[in-house]
Protein backbone atom coordinates (compact mmCIF):
# COMPACT_ATOMS: atom_id res chain seq x y z
CA UNK A 1 0.00 0.00 0.00
CA UNK A 2 2.86 2.36 0.94
CA UNK A 3 4.56 1.61 -2.36
CA UNK A 4 1.40 2.40 -4.30
CA UNK A 5 0.92 5.69 -2.45
CA UNK A 6 4.58 6.56 -3.01
CA UNK A 7 4.22 5.87 -6.70
CA UNK A 8 1.05 7.99 -6.93
CA UNK A 9 2.78 10.84 -5.13
CA UNK A 10 5.90 10.47 -7.31
CA UNK A 11 3.98 10.43 -10.57
CA UNK A 12 1.24 12.88 -9.62
CA UNK A 13 2.59 15.23 -7.01
CA UNK A 14 0.37 17.98 -5.62
CA UNK A 15 -0.35 19.13 -9.19
CA UNK A 16 -2.20 16.08 -10.50
CA UNK A 17 -3.55 14.90 -7.16
CA UNK A 18 -5.10 18.29 -6.39
CA UNK A 19 -6.42 18.45 -9.97
CA UNK A 20 -8.05 15.04 -9.55
CA UNK A 21 -9.61 16.03 -6.23
CA UNK A 22 -10.98 19.33 -7.55
CA UNK A 23 -12.38 17.68 -10.69
CA UNK A 24 -14.14 15.07 -8.52
CA UNK A 25 -15.60 17.73 -6.24
CA UNK A 26 -16.79 19.71 -9.28
CA UNK A 27 -18.39 16.65 -10.90
CA UNK A 28 -20.33 15.66 -7.80
CA UNK A 29 -20.81 19.05 -6.18
CA UNK A 30 -23.38 21.71 -6.92
CA UNK A 31 -23.17 24.15 -9.84
CA UNK A 32 -22.29 26.88 -7.37
CA UNK A 33 -19.37 24.83 -6.02
CA UNK A 34 -18.18 24.10 -9.55
CA UNK A 35 -18.27 27.81 -10.44
CA UNK A 36 -16.45 28.77 -7.24
CA UNK A 37 -13.69 26.20 -7.72
CA UNK A 38 -13.31 27.19 -11.39
CA UNK A 39 -12.94 30.86 -10.53
CA UNK A 40 -10.46 30.12 -7.73
CA UNK A 41 -8.37 27.99 -10.08
CA UNK A 42 -8.27 30.83 -12.62
CA UNK A 43 -7.35 33.42 -10.00
CA UNK A 44 -4.61 31.17 -8.58
CA UNK A 45 -3.22 30.56 -12.08
CA UNK A 46 -3.10 34.30 -12.76
CA UNK A 47 -1.23 34.87 -9.50
CA UNK A 48 1.23 32.07 -10.30
CA UNK A 49 1.82 33.46 -13.82
CA UNK A 50 2.52 36.96 -12.56
CA UNK A 51 4.74 35.64 -9.75
CA UNK A 52 6.88 33.45 -11.99
CA UNK A 53 7.19 36.12 -14.64
CA UNK A 54 8.26 38.65 -12.03
CA UNK A 55 10.75 36.12 -10.62
CA UNK A 56 12.13 35.52 -14.10
CA UNK A 57 12.48 39.24 -14.76
CA UNK A 58 14.47 39.61 -11.54
CA UNK A 59 16.64 36.62 -12.44
CA UNK A 60 17.39 37.92 -15.94
CA UNK A 61 17.74 41.48 -14.68
CA UNK A 62 16.84 44.75 -16.38
CA UNK A 63 20.15 45.50 -18.03
CA UNK A 64 19.54 48.92 -19.47
CA UNK A 65 23.22 49.29 -20.28
CA UNK A 66 23.16 46.17 -22.46
CA UNK A 67 19.99 47.45 -24.11
CA UNK A 68 21.41 50.89 -24.80
CA UNK A 69 24.78 49.70 -26.15
CA UNK A 70 25.42 50.39 -29.84
CA UNK A 71 24.17 47.64 -32.15
CA UNK A 72 27.68 46.55 -33.18
CA UNK A 73 28.65 46.08 -29.52
CA UNK A 74 25.56 43.93 -28.88
CA UNK A 75 26.25 41.84 -31.96
CA UNK A 76 29.92 41.25 -31.17
CA UNK A 77 29.21 40.56 -27.51
CA UNK A 78 26.68 37.82 -28.33
CA UNK A 79 28.59 36.35 -31.28
CA UNK A 80 32.02 36.36 -29.59
CA UNK A 81 33.34 38.81 -32.16
CA UNK A 82 32.15 36.75 -35.14
CA UNK A 83 29.90 39.57 -36.38
CA UNK A 84 32.92 41.82 -37.03
CA UNK A 85 34.94 38.89 -38.36
CA UNK A 86 32.16 38.04 -40.83
CA UNK A 87 32.11 41.65 -42.06
CA UNK A 88 35.89 41.55 -42.43
CA UNK A 89 35.78 38.29 -44.46
CA UNK A 90 32.94 39.66 -46.62
CA UNK A 91 35.28 42.52 -47.46
CA UNK A 92 38.22 40.38 -48.55
CA UNK A 93 36.60 37.24 -50.04
CA UNK A 94 34.73 37.53 -53.38
CA UNK A 95 31.06 36.47 -53.34
CA UNK A 96 31.68 33.35 -55.43
CA UNK A 97 34.45 31.94 -53.27
CA UNK A 98 34.27 28.68 -51.38
CA UNK A 99 36.16 26.96 -48.64
CA UNK A 100 35.89 25.35 -45.23
CA UNK A 101 35.23 26.57 -41.71
CA UNK A 102 36.87 24.39 -39.12
CA UNK A 103 34.46 23.48 -36.34
CA UNK A 104 35.00 25.60 -33.22
CA UNK A 105 31.65 25.40 -31.45
CA UNK A 106 28.23 25.00 -33.01
CA UNK A 107 26.75 28.49 -32.77
CA UNK A 108 29.85 30.43 -33.79
CA UNK A 109 30.58 28.08 -36.67
CA UNK A 110 27.07 28.09 -38.10
CA UNK A 111 26.80 31.85 -37.60
CA UNK A 112 29.91 32.49 -39.68
CA UNK A 113 28.80 30.03 -42.35
CA UNK A 114 25.45 31.83 -42.57
CA UNK A 115 27.03 35.28 -42.76
CA UNK A 116 29.48 34.29 -45.49
CA UNK A 117 26.72 33.15 -47.87
CA UNK A 118 26.66 33.33 -50.94
CA UNK A 119 30.25 32.21 -50.42
CA UNK A 120 29.98 28.47 -49.96
CA UNK A 121 31.97 27.59 -46.87
CA UNK A 122 31.20 24.13 -45.58
CA UNK A 123 31.71 23.15 -41.97
CA UNK A 124 34.57 20.69 -41.59
CA UNK A 125 36.03 18.82 -38.62
CA UNK A 126 39.45 18.58 -40.31
CA UNK A 127 41.25 20.11 -43.24
CA UNK A 128 40.91 18.29 -46.54
CA UNK A 129 42.16 18.73 -50.09
CA UNK A 130 38.85 20.28 -51.15
CA UNK A 131 39.34 23.30 -48.90
CA UNK A 132 40.57 26.16 -51.06
CA UNK A 133 40.32 28.48 -48.07
CA UNK A 134 40.21 27.44 -44.43
CA UNK A 135 38.79 29.62 -41.69
CA UNK A 136 39.59 28.89 -38.06
CA UNK A 137 37.87 30.77 -35.29
CA UNK A 138 39.54 31.70 -32.01
CA UNK A 139 42.76 29.74 -32.53
CA UNK A 140 45.39 29.21 -35.24
CA UNK A 141 46.32 25.84 -36.74
CA UNK A 142 49.43 24.48 -38.36
CA UNK A 143 48.75 22.21 -41.32
CA UNK A 144 51.06 21.35 -44.19
CA UNK A 145 49.79 22.81 -47.41
CA UNK A 146 48.10 25.81 -45.83
CA UNK A 147 49.45 29.35 -45.78
CA UNK A 148 48.20 31.99 -43.38
CA UNK A 149 46.61 34.78 -45.44
CA UNK A 150 44.86 36.94 -42.91
CA UNK A 151 44.26 37.33 -39.19
CA UNK A 152 41.55 39.35 -37.50
CA UNK A 153 41.13 39.60 -33.75
CA UNK A 154 42.08 36.01 -32.97
CA UNK A 155 40.52 34.46 -36.10
CA UNK A 156 42.55 33.09 -39.00
CA UNK A 157 42.16 32.62 -42.74
CA UNK A 158 44.41 30.17 -44.58
CA UNK A 159 44.78 29.46 -48.25
CA UNK A 160 45.75 26.17 -49.84
CA UNK A 161 49.22 26.27 -51.40
Amino acid sequence: MTIILSKIWYLGGWFYILLFVLVLISWFGSRRTKKLIGNLVVIAAAVFAVYFTFKQFIKIGVDLKAFSDPLEVKLDRTTYGQYSYALHLQGILPADESGCILWSFDLATYYLQKELYPRHFRVAREVSENCKFVVTQFSPITVEGLTLIDTFEGNYLYGAN
Binding site: V23, K34, V41, A49, T53, A66, Y110
Partner: protein, 437 residues
Protein backbone atom coordinates in the same frame (compact mmCIF):
# COMPACT_ATOMS: atom_id res chain seq x y z
CA UNK B 1 21.62 54.42 -37.66
CA UNK B 2 19.44 52.28 -35.40
CA UNK B 3 16.44 54.64 -35.56
CA UNK B 4 16.38 54.28 -39.33
CA UNK B 5 16.47 50.47 -39.01
CA UNK B 6 13.71 50.58 -36.40
CA UNK B 7 11.48 52.67 -38.68
CA UNK B 8 12.09 50.31 -41.61
CA UNK B 9 11.37 47.27 -39.42
CA UNK B 10 8.09 48.82 -38.27
CA UNK B 11 7.22 49.54 -41.90
CA UNK B 12 7.84 45.85 -42.66
CA UNK B 13 5.43 44.89 -39.88
CA UNK B 14 2.87 47.36 -41.25
CA UNK B 15 3.29 45.81 -44.70
CA UNK B 16 2.28 42.39 -43.27
CA UNK B 17 -0.70 44.10 -41.68
CA UNK B 18 -1.68 45.86 -44.90
CA UNK B 19 -1.36 42.69 -47.00
CA UNK B 20 -3.44 40.77 -44.46
CA UNK B 21 -6.10 43.49 -44.50
CA UNK B 22 -6.31 43.35 -48.29
CA UNK B 23 -6.58 39.54 -48.28
CA UNK B 24 -9.26 39.58 -45.60
CA UNK B 25 -11.22 42.53 -46.98
CA UNK B 26 -11.30 41.37 -50.60
CA UNK B 27 -11.29 37.60 -50.23
CA UNK B 28 -12.70 36.58 -46.86
CA UNK B 29 -14.90 39.21 -45.35
CA UNK B 30 -16.72 40.73 -48.31
CA UNK B 31 -15.13 44.16 -47.87
CA UNK B 32 -16.09 44.53 -44.22
CA UNK B 33 -13.25 45.80 -42.08
CA UNK B 34 -13.32 45.05 -38.37
CA UNK B 35 -10.87 45.35 -35.55
CA UNK B 36 -8.91 42.14 -35.82
CA UNK B 37 -5.37 43.36 -36.27
CA UNK B 38 -3.70 40.13 -35.06
CA UNK B 39 -5.63 38.16 -37.67
CA UNK B 40 -4.62 40.60 -40.39
CA UNK B 41 -1.01 40.29 -39.27
CA UNK B 42 -1.26 36.50 -39.45
CA UNK B 43 -2.93 36.62 -42.86
CA UNK B 44 -0.17 38.95 -44.06
CA UNK B 45 2.59 36.61 -42.87
CA UNK B 46 0.89 33.65 -44.50
CA UNK B 47 0.18 35.49 -47.77
CA UNK B 48 3.83 36.51 -48.04
CA UNK B 49 4.78 32.85 -47.59
CA UNK B 50 2.38 31.63 -50.27
CA UNK B 51 3.60 34.40 -52.60
CA UNK B 52 7.19 33.32 -51.96
CA UNK B 53 6.40 29.67 -52.62
CA UNK B 54 4.52 30.48 -55.83
CA UNK B 55 7.37 32.74 -56.92
CA UNK B 56 9.80 29.83 -56.42
CA UNK B 57 7.74 27.59 -58.71
CA UNK B 58 7.48 30.24 -61.46
CA UNK B 59 11.03 31.56 -61.04
CA UNK B 60 9.93 35.10 -60.08
CA UNK B 61 12.65 36.92 -58.13
CA UNK B 62 11.51 38.66 -54.94
CA UNK B 63 13.66 41.77 -54.88
CA UNK B 64 13.50 44.82 -52.67
CA UNK B 65 11.55 46.66 -55.38
CA UNK B 66 8.97 43.87 -55.58
CA UNK B 67 8.54 43.80 -51.79
CA UNK B 68 8.06 47.54 -51.51
CA UNK B 69 5.77 47.74 -54.56
CA UNK B 70 3.63 44.88 -53.22
CA UNK B 71 3.36 46.63 -49.85
CA UNK B 72 2.50 50.01 -51.40
CA UNK B 73 -0.13 48.38 -53.63
CA UNK B 74 -1.73 46.81 -50.54
CA UNK B 75 -1.93 50.19 -48.84
CA UNK B 76 -3.35 51.75 -52.03
CA UNK B 77 -6.04 49.03 -52.31
CA UNK B 78 -7.11 49.77 -48.76
CA UNK B 79 -7.22 53.53 -49.24
CA UNK B 80 -9.56 53.06 -52.22
CA UNK B 81 -12.08 51.56 -49.82
CA UNK B 82 -13.94 54.57 -48.43
CA UNK B 83 -15.59 52.40 -45.80
CA UNK B 84 -12.13 51.21 -44.69
CA UNK B 85 -10.94 54.65 -43.59
CA UNK B 86 -14.14 55.29 -41.62
CA UNK B 87 -14.23 51.92 -39.82
CA UNK B 88 -10.43 51.93 -39.34
CA UNK B 89 -10.59 55.21 -37.40
CA UNK B 90 -13.53 53.95 -35.33
CA UNK B 91 -11.82 50.64 -34.52
CA UNK B 92 -8.41 52.07 -33.64
CA UNK B 93 -9.59 55.03 -31.60
CA UNK B 94 -12.17 53.27 -29.48
CA UNK B 95 -12.10 53.42 -25.67
CA UNK B 96 -9.16 51.58 -24.17
CA UNK B 97 -8.82 50.44 -20.56
CA UNK B 98 -6.03 52.74 -19.37
CA UNK B 99 -4.91 50.54 -16.46
CA UNK B 100 -4.66 47.50 -18.71
CA UNK B 101 -2.81 49.50 -21.35
CA UNK B 102 -0.29 50.74 -18.77
CA UNK B 103 0.30 47.29 -17.24
CA UNK B 104 0.73 45.60 -20.62
CA UNK B 105 2.94 48.44 -21.88
CA UNK B 106 5.26 48.05 -18.88
CA UNK B 107 5.32 44.28 -19.40
CA UNK B 108 6.05 44.51 -23.14
CA UNK B 109 8.64 47.22 -22.52
CA UNK B 110 10.46 44.85 -20.15
CA UNK B 111 10.28 42.02 -22.71
CA UNK B 112 11.55 44.42 -25.40
CA UNK B 113 14.51 45.51 -23.25
CA UNK B 114 15.56 41.90 -22.78
CA UNK B 115 14.89 40.95 -26.42
CA UNK B 116 16.71 43.84 -28.01
CA UNK B 117 19.77 43.60 -25.78
CA UNK B 118 21.06 40.86 -28.06
CA UNK B 119 20.64 39.35 -31.53
CA UNK B 120 19.34 35.84 -32.17
CA UNK B 121 21.84 33.26 -30.98
CA UNK B 122 20.22 29.84 -31.07
CA UNK B 123 21.19 26.58 -32.70
CA UNK B 124 18.14 25.94 -34.89
CA UNK B 125 17.97 29.59 -35.95
CA UNK B 126 21.58 29.85 -37.02
CA UNK B 127 21.79 26.38 -38.50
CA UNK B 128 18.72 26.63 -40.71
CA UNK B 129 15.87 29.11 -40.04
CA UNK B 130 17.80 32.37 -40.31
CA UNK B 131 20.45 30.78 -42.50
CA UNK B 132 17.68 30.19 -45.03
CA UNK B 133 16.23 33.66 -44.49
CA UNK B 134 19.65 35.15 -45.24
CA UNK B 135 19.99 32.99 -48.36
CA UNK B 136 16.46 33.87 -49.57
CA UNK B 137 17.31 37.55 -49.18
CA UNK B 138 20.68 37.23 -50.99
CA UNK B 139 19.20 35.13 -53.82
CA UNK B 140 15.96 37.18 -54.07
CA UNK B 141 13.78 34.24 -53.21
CA UNK B 142 13.81 30.48 -52.90
CA UNK B 143 15.81 28.60 -55.52
CA UNK B 144 16.79 24.98 -55.78
CA UNK B 145 20.26 25.61 -54.40
CA UNK B 146 19.34 27.50 -51.27
CA UNK B 147 16.42 25.18 -50.48
CA UNK B 148 18.55 22.05 -50.53
CA UNK B 149 21.68 23.48 -48.93
CA UNK B 150 20.53 23.25 -45.37
CA UNK B 151 19.91 20.51 -42.84
CA UNK B 152 16.21 19.58 -42.63
CA UNK B 153 15.64 20.97 -46.11
CA UNK B 154 12.05 19.73 -46.09
CA UNK B 155 11.11 22.11 -43.26
CA UNK B 156 8.58 24.68 -44.44
CA UNK B 157 9.56 28.27 -45.00
CA UNK B 158 6.99 30.74 -43.71
CA UNK B 159 9.32 32.05 -41.01
CA UNK B 160 12.42 32.40 -43.25
CA UNK B 161 10.29 34.05 -45.95
CA UNK B 162 8.84 36.55 -43.46
CA UNK B 163 12.35 37.28 -42.19
CA UNK B 164 13.66 37.72 -45.74
CA UNK B 165 10.76 40.13 -46.43
CA UNK B 166 11.91 42.21 -43.45
CA UNK B 167 15.52 42.06 -44.70
CA UNK B 168 14.40 43.56 -48.02
CA UNK B 169 12.89 46.49 -46.15
CA UNK B 170 16.09 46.92 -44.14
CA UNK B 171 18.34 46.44 -47.15
CA UNK B 172 20.42 43.97 -45.12
CA UNK B 173 20.19 40.68 -43.28
CA UNK B 174 19.87 41.30 -39.54
CA UNK B 175 19.67 38.74 -36.73
CA UNK B 176 18.89 41.65 -34.43
CA UNK B 177 15.97 43.38 -36.14
CA UNK B 178 14.38 40.08 -37.21
CA UNK B 179 13.33 39.67 -33.57
CA UNK B 180 10.73 42.37 -34.10
CA UNK B 181 8.56 39.82 -35.91
CA UNK B 182 8.21 37.33 -33.01
CA UNK B 183 7.84 40.31 -30.66
CA UNK B 184 4.92 41.58 -32.77
CA UNK B 185 3.47 38.04 -32.87
CA UNK B 186 3.53 37.88 -29.05
CA UNK B 187 1.75 41.24 -28.80
CA UNK B 188 -0.77 40.05 -31.41
CA UNK B 189 -1.56 36.86 -29.49
CA UNK B 190 -2.03 38.73 -26.23
CA UNK B 191 -4.22 41.37 -27.94
CA UNK B 192 -6.40 38.73 -29.58
CA UNK B 193 -6.77 36.83 -26.30
CA UNK B 194 -7.57 40.08 -24.49
CA UNK B 195 -10.30 40.92 -27.00
CA UNK B 196 -11.98 37.56 -26.31
CA UNK B 197 -11.59 37.30 -22.54
CA UNK B 198 -12.43 40.90 -21.69
CA UNK B 199 -15.77 40.52 -23.45
CA UNK B 200 -17.04 38.66 -20.34
CA UNK B 201 -16.16 41.48 -17.97
CA UNK B 202 -13.54 42.15 -15.31
CA UNK B 203 -12.91 38.47 -14.52
CA UNK B 204 -11.35 38.27 -17.96
CA UNK B 205 -8.31 40.09 -16.55
CA UNK B 206 -7.32 36.93 -14.67
CA UNK B 207 -7.51 34.88 -17.86
CA UNK B 208 -5.46 37.51 -19.65
CA UNK B 209 -2.82 37.37 -16.94
CA UNK B 210 -2.51 33.59 -17.33
CA UNK B 211 -1.85 33.99 -21.05
CA UNK B 212 0.21 37.18 -21.16
CA UNK B 213 2.45 36.28 -18.25
CA UNK B 214 2.94 32.59 -19.16
CA UNK B 215 6.66 32.46 -18.39
CA UNK B 216 7.84 30.41 -21.32
CA UNK B 217 5.70 32.18 -23.90
CA UNK B 218 7.31 35.60 -23.54
CA UNK B 219 10.66 33.95 -22.83
CA UNK B 220 10.50 32.37 -26.30
CA UNK B 221 10.65 35.93 -27.68
CA UNK B 222 13.12 37.38 -25.19
CA UNK B 223 15.63 34.55 -25.15
CA UNK B 224 18.46 34.66 -27.68
CA UNK B 225 18.28 30.86 -27.90
CA UNK B 226 14.66 30.65 -28.99
CA UNK B 227 13.68 33.97 -30.59
CA UNK B 228 14.88 32.80 -34.01
CA UNK B 229 12.85 29.59 -33.97
CA UNK B 230 9.55 28.96 -35.72
CA UNK B 231 7.66 27.55 -32.72
CA UNK B 232 6.03 30.86 -31.81
CA UNK B 233 4.70 31.15 -35.37
CA UNK B 234 3.08 27.73 -34.98
CA UNK B 235 1.60 28.83 -31.60
CA UNK B 236 0.23 31.98 -33.21
CA UNK B 237 -1.39 30.30 -36.18
CA UNK B 238 -2.81 27.38 -34.16
CA UNK B 239 -4.24 29.97 -31.73
CA UNK B 240 -5.83 32.01 -34.53
CA UNK B 241 -7.04 28.83 -36.26
CA UNK B 242 -8.73 27.41 -33.16
CA UNK B 243 -10.18 30.83 -32.34
CA UNK B 244 -11.74 31.01 -35.80
CA UNK B 245 -13.09 27.46 -35.36
CA UNK B 246 -14.83 28.47 -32.13
CA UNK B 247 -16.40 31.39 -34.05
CA UNK B 248 -17.37 28.96 -36.87
CA UNK B 249 -15.35 31.05 -39.33
CA UNK B 250 -14.19 27.92 -41.10
CA UNK B 251 -12.45 29.63 -44.01
CA UNK B 252 -10.21 31.63 -41.68
CA UNK B 253 -9.59 28.52 -39.63
CA UNK B 254 -8.42 26.56 -42.66
CA UNK B 255 -6.00 29.29 -43.72
CA UNK B 256 -4.54 29.76 -40.26
CA UNK B 257 -3.99 26.04 -39.74
CA UNK B 258 -2.44 25.88 -43.22
CA UNK B 259 -0.09 28.70 -42.22
CA UNK B 260 0.80 26.80 -39.05
CA UNK B 261 1.78 23.83 -41.24
CA UNK B 262 3.74 26.23 -43.46
CA UNK B 263 5.67 27.35 -40.38
CA UNK B 264 6.73 23.91 -39.16
CA UNK B 265 5.94 20.34 -40.17
CA UNK B 266 4.98 19.80 -36.50
CA UNK B 267 1.62 21.44 -37.29
CA UNK B 268 0.85 19.29 -40.34
CA UNK B 269 -1.28 16.85 -38.30
CA UNK B 270 -3.60 19.70 -37.21
CA UNK B 271 -3.90 20.95 -40.77
CA UNK B 272 -4.54 17.51 -42.25
CA UNK B 273 -6.92 16.93 -39.36
CA UNK B 274 -9.05 19.99 -40.20
CA UNK B 275 -9.13 18.96 -43.85
CA UNK B 276 -10.57 15.58 -42.82
CA UNK B 277 -12.91 16.97 -40.14
CA UNK B 278 -14.56 19.67 -42.25
CA UNK B 279 -16.41 17.25 -44.56
CA UNK B 280 -17.54 15.33 -41.46
CA UNK B 281 -18.79 18.57 -39.87
CA UNK B 282 -20.63 19.45 -43.10
CA UNK B 283 -22.22 16.15 -44.01
CA UNK B 284 -22.76 14.45 -40.65
CA UNK B 285 -22.60 17.36 -38.25
CA UNK B 286 -24.78 19.54 -40.52
CA UNK B 287 -22.58 22.54 -39.81
CA UNK B 288 -22.55 25.39 -42.34
CA UNK B 289 -19.26 24.49 -43.96
CA UNK B 290 -19.43 25.81 -47.49
CA UNK B 291 -18.00 24.14 -50.57
CA UNK B 292 -15.56 27.04 -50.81
CA UNK B 293 -14.12 26.13 -47.41
CA UNK B 294 -13.64 22.51 -48.45
CA UNK B 295 -12.04 23.61 -51.72
CA UNK B 296 -9.71 25.96 -49.86
CA UNK B 297 -8.70 23.27 -47.36
CA UNK B 298 -7.87 20.63 -49.93
CA UNK B 299 -6.47 23.22 -52.30
CA UNK B 300 -4.00 24.44 -49.71
CA UNK B 301 -3.09 20.87 -48.74
CA UNK B 302 -2.51 20.00 -52.37
CA UNK B 303 -0.47 23.18 -52.89
CA UNK B 304 1.79 22.37 -49.96
CA UNK B 305 2.31 18.73 -50.93
CA UNK B 306 2.75 19.59 -54.61
CA UNK B 307 5.32 22.26 -53.72
CA UNK B 308 7.34 19.75 -51.67
CA UNK B 309 7.12 17.14 -54.45
CA UNK B 310 7.96 19.66 -57.22
CA UNK B 311 11.06 20.84 -55.40
CA UNK B 312 12.03 17.34 -54.20
CA UNK B 313 11.62 17.98 -50.49
CA UNK B 314 10.11 14.82 -49.02
CA UNK B 315 9.72 14.40 -45.26
CA UNK B 316 12.68 12.80 -43.52
CA UNK B 317 10.20 10.91 -41.29
CA UNK B 318 8.61 9.26 -44.32
CA UNK B 319 11.96 8.37 -45.83
CA UNK B 320 13.03 6.23 -42.91
CA UNK B 321 12.66 2.47 -42.71
CA UNK B 322 9.74 2.06 -40.30
CA UNK B 323 10.11 -1.72 -40.22
CA UNK B 324 13.60 -1.35 -38.76
CA UNK B 325 12.34 1.18 -36.25
CA UNK B 326 9.55 -1.16 -35.11
CA UNK B 327 12.01 -4.01 -34.73
CA UNK B 328 14.66 -2.02 -32.90
CA UNK B 329 12.46 0.06 -30.63
CA UNK B 330 9.76 -1.36 -28.33
CA UNK B 331 6.75 0.82 -29.22
CA UNK B 332 5.07 0.66 -25.82
CA UNK B 333 8.20 1.61 -23.88
CA UNK B 334 9.04 4.54 -26.12
CA UNK B 335 5.51 5.96 -26.05
CA UNK B 336 5.36 5.48 -22.27
CA UNK B 337 8.63 7.42 -21.93
CA UNK B 338 7.26 10.28 -24.09
CA UNK B 339 4.01 10.41 -22.14
CA UNK B 340 5.88 10.60 -18.85
CA UNK B 341 8.01 13.39 -20.27
CA UNK B 342 4.89 15.34 -21.23
CA UNK B 343 3.38 14.62 -17.81
CA UNK B 344 6.42 16.21 -16.17
CA UNK B 345 6.46 19.12 -18.61
CA UNK B 346 2.82 20.03 -17.96
CA UNK B 347 3.52 20.46 -14.25
CA UNK B 348 6.73 22.47 -14.75
CA UNK B 349 5.34 25.57 -13.08
CA UNK B 350 8.50 27.60 -13.75
CA UNK B 351 7.65 27.47 -17.46
CA UNK B 352 3.84 27.34 -17.52
CA UNK B 353 2.72 28.47 -14.08
CA UNK B 354 -0.36 26.35 -13.38
CA UNK B 355 -1.72 27.04 -16.86
CA UNK B 356 -2.04 23.33 -17.57
CA UNK B 357 -3.85 22.84 -14.27
CA UNK B 358 -6.44 25.32 -15.54
CA UNK B 359 -6.60 23.62 -18.94
CA UNK B 360 -7.01 20.08 -17.63
CA UNK B 361 -9.50 21.20 -15.00
CA UNK B 362 -11.87 22.88 -17.45
CA UNK B 363 -11.50 20.12 -20.03
CA UNK B 364 -12.38 17.53 -17.39
CA UNK B 365 -15.32 19.30 -15.73
CA UNK B 366 -16.83 20.24 -19.10
CA UNK B 367 -16.42 16.84 -20.72
CA UNK B 368 -20.16 16.52 -21.25
CA UNK B 369 -20.35 19.95 -22.91
CA UNK B 370 -17.49 19.01 -25.22
CA UNK B 371 -19.16 15.73 -26.15
CA UNK B 372 -22.41 17.50 -27.07
CA UNK B 373 -20.81 20.26 -29.17
CA UNK B 374 -19.51 19.33 -32.63
CA UNK B 375 -17.02 22.20 -32.87
CA UNK B 376 -15.60 21.48 -29.41
CA UNK B 377 -15.25 17.82 -30.35
CA UNK B 378 -13.46 18.82 -33.56
CA UNK B 379 -11.04 21.06 -31.65
CA UNK B 380 -10.39 18.32 -29.10
CA UNK B 381 -9.74 15.88 -31.94
CA UNK B 382 -7.20 18.27 -33.45
CA UNK B 383 -5.43 18.67 -30.11
CA UNK B 384 -5.31 14.91 -29.61
CA UNK B 385 -4.00 14.39 -33.15
CA UNK B 386 -1.27 17.00 -32.63
CA UNK B 387 -0.28 15.47 -29.31
CA UNK B 388 -0.25 11.96 -30.79
CA UNK B 389 1.92 13.22 -33.65
CA UNK B 390 4.46 14.66 -31.21
CA UNK B 391 4.70 11.25 -29.51
CA UNK B 392 5.00 9.51 -32.86
CA UNK B 393 7.90 11.76 -33.89
CA UNK B 394 9.65 11.01 -30.60
CA UNK B 395 9.27 7.31 -31.43
CA UNK B 396 10.54 7.38 -35.03
CA UNK B 397 13.21 10.06 -34.68
CA UNK B 398 16.71 9.04 -35.70
CA UNK B 399 18.14 11.02 -32.79
CA UNK B 400 18.32 9.65 -29.27
CA UNK B 401 14.80 9.91 -27.83
CA UNK B 402 15.79 11.21 -24.41
CA UNK B 403 18.10 13.82 -25.92
CA UNK B 404 15.51 15.03 -28.38
CA UNK B 405 12.81 15.22 -25.72
CA UNK B 406 15.11 17.17 -23.40
CA UNK B 407 15.86 19.79 -26.07
CA UNK B 408 12.45 20.13 -27.70
CA UNK B 409 9.52 19.17 -25.45
CA UNK B 410 9.00 22.66 -24.03
CA UNK B 411 8.98 24.10 -27.56
CA UNK B 412 6.37 21.59 -28.73
CA UNK B 413 4.22 22.32 -25.69
CA UNK B 414 4.54 26.06 -26.38
CA UNK B 415 3.03 25.44 -29.83
CA UNK B 416 -0.21 24.18 -28.32
CA UNK B 417 -0.37 26.16 -25.07
CA UNK B 418 -2.16 29.33 -26.27
CA UNK B 419 -4.75 27.31 -28.25
CA UNK B 420 -5.63 24.89 -25.46
CA UNK B 421 -5.75 27.78 -22.97
CA UNK B 422 -8.20 29.50 -25.31
CA UNK B 423 -10.22 26.27 -25.41
CA UNK B 424 -10.29 26.19 -21.59
CA UNK B 425 -11.47 29.80 -21.54
CA UNK B 426 -14.23 29.15 -24.08
CA UNK B 427 -15.46 26.22 -21.98
CA UNK B 428 -15.39 28.32 -18.80
CA UNK B 429 -17.22 31.21 -20.51
CA UNK B 430 -19.88 28.92 -21.98
CA UNK B 431 -20.38 27.21 -18.63
CA UNK B 432 -20.49 30.50 -16.75
CA UNK B 433 -23.17 31.78 -19.11
CA UNK B 434 -25.14 28.55 -18.59
CA UNK B 435 -24.85 28.83 -14.79
CA UNK B 436 -25.93 32.49 -14.84
CA UNK B 437 -29.14 31.76 -16.80
Amino acid sequence: MWIFDLVLSILALLSFLAIGMVVDTYIFSKRIFTNKLPEYFGLGLGSVAIFGMAAAVFGIPITRVVVILFSLMSVAFLLFQRKFLRTFKKAIFRRIDITLAVVLSVFFAEVAIITFSHPVWGYDALEHWLARAHAFWVDNGMVWGNLHSYYQAEDPNLWPLAAAWLFHFLGKSSDFWVQIIPFAVLIGMVMEFAKRVLAVGKFGYFWLAIMAFAPFLWFTVASESYSGNADLMVSFFLFLGFGALFDKRYLHSVFFLAFAALSKNDALPAFIGICLLLPILRYWGREKVSALVLAAAFGLLFFELFWKYYLDLPSRYLRGDLQTVFEARPFGEYIKYSLHAFREEFRYIGRWGIGFFVIFYFLAVNARMIWRNKVFLAVLALIVVQFAAYNWVYYVTKEDQAGQIATSIFRLVSQLYPSVLLFAYVLWARDTKAVSR
